[in-house]
Symmetry: C2
Subunit: 367 residues, 2 copies
């Protein structure tokens, strides 16, 4: 393992999933981590799992870095407290929205420009399937984007320390201004979240037999509608201005679509629908492909497997033997019987070979 970039100690304020994961990751690099959480039990659990040592008010702590891992609502307040209490520390936060935190800090009368120069807003974009310190993993940020959003006041030193945090946790560093960041996440994260919820909320009173026809399309569009409301209420509230502009654009398109569907045989109706679909095609194709590279056109095939343990492993092993690289893989759950459907994505030039070889080996290639 490379030597760490941070020297420590690092004080982590908030030992939920993210704070405790940060602690674990830094401890794995031998960095001294001190944990503090308003909830004694959350703090105790985080200490128990090895995320750091418990904060001790009697200790004279001079942290190199303070990481504020508090809920978005109280982040600015906790950052301010840390800037004032640790006058030589760099302070970062990890909240999902950046401009609102910075604005709140800037508006505070107790925070000077010099204090603010030691603050860098950041946003690690790591998974949130679970919550709480029990779910923490030091590798949580491994290869995930970590966005650094220095303000105009942030010093080069503060940015360097923030950068070191992300690097020591093996993240991929991005740099945006706070406003750019909020605009970007409004589009790539908050918009899909609310749209998924809007679709899913339509299903509340659907007769179950209608839902029995659900396919992967519905599942994909509504997957993130299972998200935790309490966190998202804070995020959406904090990024309201950016999201609002985007949603107004969506509403304009939706109005146009509703108009068109009100008179579907009118001249131009077909063209309107085709245009919406084509614009969707165009936008979707701009999403980066695997590993952030250009969106690549892969070819898909679907293989039916018995729903017995080890079947998918066997299929993948044989694909390895055949010598075709798998670009992507998904399971289809629309099927009614006890079968599994595996969707495989390969380079277009390899598809025929793979289909022929799998078929020859007795696999059922459905499409």
């Amino acid at each position: 393992m490379n030597p760490s970039h941070l020297l420590g100690p690092v004080l982590v304020l908030g030992s939920g999933l993210l704070g405790a994961s940060i602690g674990l990751g830094l401890r794995a690099r031998g960095i001294d981590v001190v944990l503090s959480d308003p909830s004694p039990s959350a703090q105790a659990v985080a200490v128990d799992i090895g995320a750091g040592r418990a904060f001790d008010a009697a200790e004279t702590l001079v942290p190199e870095l303070v990481v504020v891992a508090a809920p978005p609502d109280v982040t600015a307040q906790v950052v301010a407290g840390a800037l004032l209490r640790y006058p030589s520390a760099v302070v970062v936060d990890i909240a999902s929205v950046k401009a609102s935190v910075l604005n709140e800090l800037t508006a505070r009368e107790d925070i000077t420009e010099k204090d603010l120069s030691r603050y860098v807003g950041t946003h690690p974009m790591a998974g949130r399937e679970r919550s709480g310190p029990v779910a923490a993993r030091g590798e949580l940020f491994n290869s995930m984007p970590w966005v650094l959003c220095p303000s105009e006041q942030s010093t080069a030193h503060a940015l360097k320390v923030a950068h070191s945090l992300a690097i020591d946790l093996d993240a991929v560093v991005f740099r945006f201004s706070p406003e750019e960041h909020d605009g970007a996440v409004a589009l790539v994260s908050h918009l899909p979240q609310v749209m998924a919820s809007l679709v899913a909320s339509r299903l509340q009173e659907t007769p179950s037999n209608a839902l029995s026809l659900s396919g992967n399309g519905l599942r994909d569009v509504t997957r993130i509608a299972a998200s935790d409301p309490s966190l998202w209420v804070q995020i959406l509230g904090a990024n309201a201005p950016q999201l609002l502009e985007i949603l107004k654009g969506v509403r304009t398109d939706l109005d146009r679509l509703i108009n068109t569907l009100s008179a579907p045989t009118a001249p131009g109706a077909r063209l309107d629908l085709a245009q919406l679909m084509a614009e969707g095609n165009a936008g979707q194709s701009r999403i980066p492909g695997k590993h952030g590279g250009p969106a690549q056109q892969y070819s898909w095939l679907t293989v039916l497997v018995d729903d017995k343990p080890g079947q998918i492993a066997r299929l993948l092993t044989e694909i390895g033997e055949i010598g075709v690289n798998l670009e992507d893989l998904r399971l289809d759950h629309s099927a009614g019987l006890q079968v599994g459907m595996v969707e495989l994505s390969v380079l277009p030039s390899r598809r025929v070979l793979l289909v022929d070889e799998l078929t020859a080996r007795g696999w059922k290639v459905i499409q």
Copy 2:
């Protein structure tokens, strides 16, 4: 293989992906299939791949069943032609919307009630990743839903033959009235399609650095925005009334959300946002789980793998050795570096064992 239910011959009108796949599937059961397509090359390809024998106008064909696999726009017309030309045949279609086809048929002066009694609308809900006869597979319908939508005029015999078609192609049969069907697919298929396109179309002019923060949420919500416009324009047009009602409901919710975000700190704003998220949670949890069973709560974990061939196969093989059943599997493409992220879903009671065992075997469990 069980003996087939259909006796044949079966005349398939339209030898694109679906028609040719039907042909292949029935030929595999030894049923005599005759193919006809307005495009001589599409017909020739379908014959070449073994989907059936070419239609011969000189032959006196007395089909048991005529399957109309034409585009939605011309389906009713082709059904009518078949009902008139083959007065003893059952005629089915496979278009994605049912009421519009039936209404168009019923309105025709050349079609009597007796003719109509031999017609059953159906809808096989099978994958559409590819198109054209070259992509056809006899197993396309294997374990996929096939909805039968008899009208009030359909005879029991006609329904039986339609049922036999679906069974002989190993599909899972559902039965809906035409209106019930259209309402169901409007919700579970057409709504997610247009919403995905509405989200994706917002990305057309996004700066690429914003898109570099794209995660699985955006990818999931916009995946089906890559759909083929020409087909969808016909489907949306034909099912406009059902979809319209649903979209008006969405627009009401969107208006409410936009209002709330315009004053995010107003009293009640938080509650509004929480309510939208909670309704999304509730709707999403009603979508059936694996194999159509109740929506089950599974536990997820994420494992990092080197992006080398065979890694995922090795991981799955070891999971098989550990003895934990994999409920679902997805690849995460947000990562920037040359790593693969595999998301695994297991029964909650098995999660700890799996995490411990994988970690002991040297796998990097991120979350």
